[in-house]
Symmetry: C2
Subunit: 334 residues, 2 copies
């Protein structure tokens, strides 16, 4: 019989289709191993083509002066620094200026790599870079919230193969973020504690959904995971904003993220996924009730119709089994 | 420059990408006109195969006793009447029984039709059927909310070609529904009026987003439409639940829906879409602040990555232009 589970942090209900549940192995992607070249002459993110992506906002170079990471403006920005910043309401018609940031972090000069295949040091550089840029964008008083996300694979909405992240600074707080804040605040009002801190504690005690853990981070499949292999990476230390990640945490996050992504890459044959860093709005750094985290949403199933209609997700897998699969998966030697 | 718009009913912010905006004509689907047969021997919904869909809960027949519409249980139900109805919480882990209804409304015996191509009388029968079934499902005290939705085309998540709707009765109120209720309640607290009633009034006054209108319904592109040709159909009379649709309204809804779907079908070359009837929870029939409606979400663009990451939708079209396109579109003779 199907079971419903509610994520107490987001208040989202999920149907766990226990009877139709597939085994973790069933989700292995069947990919035609299209071999990508290390350099693609028409790729705007490949070395030598920097002229196609002007206005660089950050660069990390190696000893020889070659870039390892670049952050550049998105060529087709959803929001624009040239737009006016305003709010206006005419009867019920409410508008705001499309002021904001939309940047792209190019993870590596190599066209054919993916985050999972980068050395730990380079993943650390990536996190350092987007933390730096994130802080700068959020220090713009007209920006009310910012996100960092990655779309990996065509099924996750990427149009460019070259490994990259996106950083968006918005002049408003999106409903999705506000909804999470409100739920967390209600939990705090009820109990006097951060629901995410509580979740970490309970998940570490329950053990069965933990994928891995280190000094600063815990990686687990949420109890009410809304899709197969949906994964959360939470810092153990309570802080509401990704802005306040410490250097030690950046190192530990690189370690945790790398192991997770490698298990995911090798264990499930490089599936498409989205990931996003959910953080408090710019003015909410000090919040006692919110806790930043990274959410990974693999694109392994298609449930768009039911979900859009009913407002509920169906997960055709068991979170506990998927967590065990990744926890036990033995990585090939580095 | 991009513009932000907020839907005052849902509080969802949308980026209207004015500069990248496509013209309405650009959204015409390029479909390989795969001709479907009127009868498909392996289709479980085709006449003669009724044995594959047992447990019929509703049937409408013609003068000769042949069925015109059937409602049957979904063969792979997301929720099940055999499941227990319970709520349980163990620390932060909250579960509920997967009790519920998941049924399929087969719109016509003909495999190769689509709602847009049915005569008005048959669309009226469809609405009458799902209103009847909706009322029955919601009268089950264990059901807290119910939805009716349709996925049209593979891009909208359909796996079965034969035209059908789905009806789901749930033992909880999904977050999406609860969020809409809360926003509408806040608006009511502030102003003493239903935000949807107000929207109808303002849209009829502004005219530019109206697609069509009749005695009981208004069909328009919301000011903050979150995707190209996103459309709302609202009853003019205030009532919170679809359960309370009157016979006159059923007739007028069939008229409005049919014209809209035909304009959409012929004008845009039969694009994929989802539609859903959003209604108050079972116990909210009398609510002064909520208003049921039908929302149509065409699948004309792919914005999954940005949207999932940022929590904001990007609409690469102008709601006013799309509304004008459909309003002015001349339908072929019936």
């Amino acid at each position: 019989m199907p079971q419903l589970r509610q994520n107490l942090a987001t208040k989202e209900w999920v149907i766990i289709a226990t009877e139709r549940a597939k085994r973790p192995e069933d989700f292995k992607a069947e990919k035609s191993e299209k071999k990508l070249p290390e350099f693609s002459p028409n790729c705007p993110f490949c070395p030598g083509n920097e002229v196609n992506t002007p206005g660089e906002t950050l660069r990390i170079t190696d000893k020889n002066g070659n870039w390892k990471i670049r952050i550049v403006p998105n060529k087709f920005p959803a929001l624009d620094k040239e737009a006016k910043s305003f709010r206006e309401q005419n009867h019920i018609f409410r508008t705001a200026g499309g002021y904001g940031y939309h940047e792209v972090l190019i993870e590596t000069p190599k066209h054919n790599l993916t985050t999972a295949l980068l050395p730990e040091e380079e993943i650390k550089n990536i996190i350092t870079s987007y933390a730096g840029r994130y802080r700068e964008i959020e220090s713009d008083k007209k920006i009310h919230s910012a996100v960092i996300f990655k779309n990996h694979g065509a099924g996750a909405g990427t149009s460019l193969e070259h490994p990259h992240h996106q950083i968006v600074g918005m002049p408003v707080v999106p409903l999705q973020v506000r909804s999470r804040l409100e739920e967390a605040q209600r939990y705090y009002d009820d109990t006097g504690e951060c629901v995410y801190c509580r979740m970490i504690e309970e998940e570490l005690k329950a053990k069965e959904r933990i994928i891995l853990e280190n000094r600063s981070f815990v990686v687990f499949t949420p109890f009410a995971a809304f899709s197969p292999f949906h994964t959360w990476i939470l810092p153990k230390r309570h802080h509401a904003s990704f802005r306040d990640i410490s250097d030690t945490e950046i190192g530990d996050m690189a370690k945790a993220l790398r192991i997770f992504l490698r298990k995911f890459y090798f264990g499930l044959n490089n599936p498409d996924f989205n990931y996003v860093i959910r953080s408090a709005p710019s003015d909410g750094r000090g919040l006692a009730y919110f806790h930043w985290y990274l959410s990974i949403v693999p694109r392994l199933t298609k449930t768009a119709g039911f979900e859009l209609g009913s407002g509920m997700f169906i997960n055709v897998s068991l979170p506990e089994e998927n967590a065990r699969f990744l926890r036990d998966y033995k990585l090939p030697a580095d």
